[in-house]
């Protein structure tokens, strides 16, 4: 009866990359699937400029979130990890390393992640 769970535990960490041109800009995504969560990096150049982590809480409808690295005035990594944690019910690490010049970009980026979550749930 525990077979599917056992198999999931044996499953190794997997890494998945995908890219999309959003608002005339190439945006790269890098996902590392872990046990009970995933690490997601989003960027147009290979820089790790911030890192936030979120995890669902039974005491609050919104997942708990903290910024581990980077500029605290940039709320993008926190809010994205929070929304992804809520959607996936997993621990989510997010590094949002895109310039914060266009507010439309972050919405389109989030849509692209949701599309990938639907198309390839096995990578998350």
């Amino acid at each position: 009866m525990n077979e599917p769970q056992d198999r999931a535990q044996v499953e190794a960490i997997s890494v998945h990359n995908f890219s999309e041109k959003i608002l005339e800009q190439m945006v790269h995504f890098h996902v590392m699937k872990l046990s009970g969560g995933f690490f997601l990096w989003i960027g147009s150049s290979p820089v790790l400029s911030n890192l936030a982590v979120s995890v669902s809480s039974r005491y609050d409808s919104m997942p708990l979130s903290t910024l581990v690295m980077g500029d605290p005035s940039n709320t993008a990594p926190n809010s994205l990890s929070q929304r992804l944690a809520k959607k996936t019910k997993k621990q989510v690490f997010v590094s949002y390393s895109l310039p914060m010049t266009d507010s439309r970009l972050s919405l389109l980026v989030e849509d692209r992640i949701k599309k990938e979550l639907e198309l390839h749930p096995e990578h998350f």
Binding site: I13, V15, K21, H28, H30, M32, L34, S45, V68
Partner: protein, 180 residues
């Protein structure tokens, strides 16, 4: 070929050829087929194929960050390593739980008196801040930073066994996932 004549009429060029024999007519037809039908068809197809492959590449270019991973047995415990190279960080996940666990940043100290022995500072960003964590992190990540041109290392550490012997073996596993 026998006698040939080209006549211009109503804006079209008409070519009349009188062949000596039926055999010659068939040869000419075959040559005409190759030159005017098959070669353009092949060229046209190749153009389509190259444009398609270019389109395919556009939708999924090579990832801009490189990562390497491996799984090894360290004193009976399955140990996984994933190394990812960013331009400002090397991200190393060393885990026996398939989780990131404790996150530590290992940064080379900018003000070091002796160039031959640079010092490294460790900071626990997430998780339990224990002296042992700092010892392990320094031991495991210093060589990565040095080899990567003093790039800081972000280390995810989730170990069941952090004995000296195990840590030694883990260093070799990290070395086998060199992305810097």
């Amino acid at each position: 070929m026998g006698i040939a004549a080209i006549i211009k009429y109503n804006g079209f060029l008409y070519c009349f050829v009188i062949f000596k024999s039926l055999k010659q007519l068939i040869y000419q037809c075959v040559i005409f087929q190759i030159i005017y039908v098959m070669i353009p068809a092949v060229l046209y197809l190749s153009v389509i194929v190259t444009s398609l492959s270019r389109f395919h590449k556009m939708s999924s270019p090579d990832p801009i960050i490189r990562s390497k991973q491996t799984e090894k047995n360290v004193n009976g415990i399955s140990t996984e390593v994933v190394c990812t190279a960013f331009s400002n960080y090397i991200f190393v996940v060393l885990t026996q739980y398939r989780k990131i666990g404790t996150l530590i940043s290992v940064t080379p100290e900018s003000r070091s008196n002796d160039i031959s022995t640079p010092s490294f500072s460790t900071k626990v960003l997430l998780g339990k801040d224990e002296p042992m964590t700092h010892v392990c992190a320094k031991n495991l990540a210093t060589f990565v930073s040095q080899e990567a041109g003093n790039r800081p290392v972000l280390l995810g550490l989730a170990l069941k066994d952090s004995s000296l012997d195990s840590v030694k073996q883990m260093k070799d596993i990290i070395r086998s996932c060199k992305v810097w």
